[in-house]
Symmetry: C2
Subunit: 379 residues, 2 copies
């Protein structure tokens, strides 16, 4: 079944208001979550709503607070998320970064004491719409082992980089610094499929393909771990992925003044950190020239020789843009388990569910025949 | 045989002065090149000197020019390298970025019409010594295929990120966005060893392990290509490495106003672009607090459980720091082929060579027993 994005957003707002989140914060969260569903990053969309609602209900997330600016200069600001929802704090942060960057050329804003903020790309896109390039990152619950290690020490630490290459379809890289997220393993298991060697390690640091052991080990924090981009050891550049994950952790933890590494999601709350960097393209190059050359570069990439068996070369953000166009028009397909969970949430909170339309559940293949094989690997 | 770094630097200066490079520019190039040899990034050290000397001699690089500031604001500057040596232009750029960042909190400087600048990490470290975090990148001759592609469209596009975590031993990630550089394939071939599947593709985009075919294909730009970090296709995140390479290319090409993609090293010269971003840690977090927490994070990483068969977990920049300490004390070991080439350069240019000491040639194992398996993969 499918639902349209407005109906889904309105449902998210209703649920969050029932646990005492203000209307404006609820709208913000709804917008960020549903933008993930629209873009095909299903793992970071409304499938996460229960965690937010339950998190507030259990007192883990403060629904009443507002992010506070602890310090600022003309190019920087330090925000305290005060353990509120991650999305309102992060929208405040990127908007401050945008205004400062428009004024001075460059800006960086950090957030500490925050919670899950959704997809990093949402915030990067908010800046590209204003003609800025942007870089956004967050730390996350520990799941990824360092090179030569056997225990989860970092989150999947996504990083998003956006450029205002095309106002309608900006360049957006939004990628976890691990090879795959835990959610992908859970999905493969649900579908009766296998995981590949080199994605995760057992408590001895050896590659494993035992999905239940990995997923349960990660949940229990008992010594299974995902591997960083580049994989096991250094043969395929695993130390580079580990290095990138460390960069994100340094920005989001020690620099932002947030928790980091194994300490996030501890007794004092999630304590996550994020960073938001923006810069003016037009201080370095006239925007039209930049856009014309980026467009030519992308055209050359797309029309360059294809590997045998491949009929298309894409640019980061292109697939998600196409999925979004399709889902804006035809509605958002959700998995039966997600629909069931949303309807349970509706009942539990005494609100009406989204309006459902008949339609196929999400398939791994888009209408155009292009496989969405990694739609939930991007962040 | 070994030589000490001062003798090697003086030799580089002598050679460059013979092709009419000013003493101060020659000293700058010598410093950057030898810093690569000191840090164990042998592929980017004096082994490259011939290309610079011959490049100037053949009129491909202008020895007399000086980088010009085309535009600047309080946070940005745009430099034209005017086809001079990459190192003086890049030192000028990072120094402008450092001064602006110290003043305003954040700064970004781009360079266009430049040449090979050595290791990106050299410039990042220059900023960390001033208490700044930094990000530096460059584009390069086309060698890397996009995901689903079969032709080289980007360079190995290294990115370096530095943090002033410890004044003596700062955090430094300095990594090509490809899995391996071409130089690694050449070295393996020289040593009679094999390359692994998944590092490079043939003209049909299929993984190949035929080193001569790959190396010759890359040199002739005839359809062999290296693969981005994450490898072939999307299974292990190749699209993420491709995305990172694109990010570096966008900063260095369209944003910097330099050549990009297949157009670099064309008829008008290398036309490379670089970018240099710096920021003040202490505008976001007191430096001492940042350093204390980063240090604790690194200690936790190092002491976390090891994978079976591994006795050490490191942090980016640690291995290079240790190699540097060893080579500062015991001299820099060079391969016989590099020594021969340097001595030929000495003869050709009518200058005396470096002073050689007896000593082992570079091995893959450091005194401490830690394998230097990837010392030249980092950039």
């Amino acid at each position: 079944m499918r639902t349209d994005h407005q109906s889904l957003q309105a449902f998210v707002v209703r649920c969050l208001q029932r646990v005492d989140v203000s209307e404006s914060d609820a709208v913000t969260v709804a917008h960020v979550l549903v933008s993930a569903d629209l873009r095909g990053v299903d793992s970071h969309g409304v499938a996460r709503l229960r965690r937010y609602v339950d998190g507030v209900r259990k007192g883990k997330i403060d629904p009443h607070t507002e992010a506070a600016v602890l310090a600022e200069t003309s190019t920087t600001a330090v925000l305290d998320g005060r353990n509120g929802l991650g999305q309102p704090a992060s929208c405040a942060a990127i908007d401050i970064a945008i205004e400062k960057a428009l004024e001075t050329g460059l800006a960086m804003v950090t957030v500490r004491r925050s919670n899950h903020f959704g997809i990093a790309g949402y915030y990067a896109l908010r800046a590209t719409r204003r003609g800025l390039f942007s870089m956004v990152g967050t730390n996350a619950s520990p799941q990824v082992a360092p090179t030569n290690g056997a225990s989860p020490m970092f989150g999947t630490n996504p990083i998003a980089v956006g450029f205002p290459t095309d106002p309608r379809r900006p360049f957006l890289l939004d990628a976890a610094t691990s090879i795959v997220p835990r959610g992908k393993l859970e999905r493969l298991h649900r579908e009766g499929r296998v995981m590949l060697p080199g994605w995760a390690v057992d408590p001895y640091g050896r590659s494993t393909t035992d999905i239940p052991a990995v997923v349960n080990g990660l949940k229990a924090r008992e010594g299974h771990a995902l591997l960083p981009l580049g994989g096991l050891g250094e043969t395929y550049g695993g130390h580079k992925g580990y290095g990138l994950a460390t960069v994100v952790e340094l920005f989001c933890g020690p620099l932002a003044g947030a928790l980091w590494g194994r300490h996030v999601y501890g007794r004092t709350g999630a304590g996550l950190g994020h960073f938001f960097l923006c810069g003016r393209v037009d201080f370095l190059r006239p925007l039209e020239e930049f856009q014309a050359e980026a467009s030519q570069m992308f055209d050359e990439l797309r029309s360059s020789p294809k590997a045998r068996g491949c009929d298309r070369i894409m640019v980061a953000g292109e697939r998600e843009y196409e999925v979004e166009q399709d889902r804006l028009e035809n509605g958002i397909p959700l998995r039966p388990a997600v629909i069931d969970d949303l309807m349970r949430l509706a009942t539990e909170n005494g609100v009406s569910g989204p309006a459902w339309q008949e339609g196929s559940t999400p398939s791994r293949t888009q209408a155009g025949g292009y496989p969405l094989a990694v739609q939930d690997e991007w962040s």
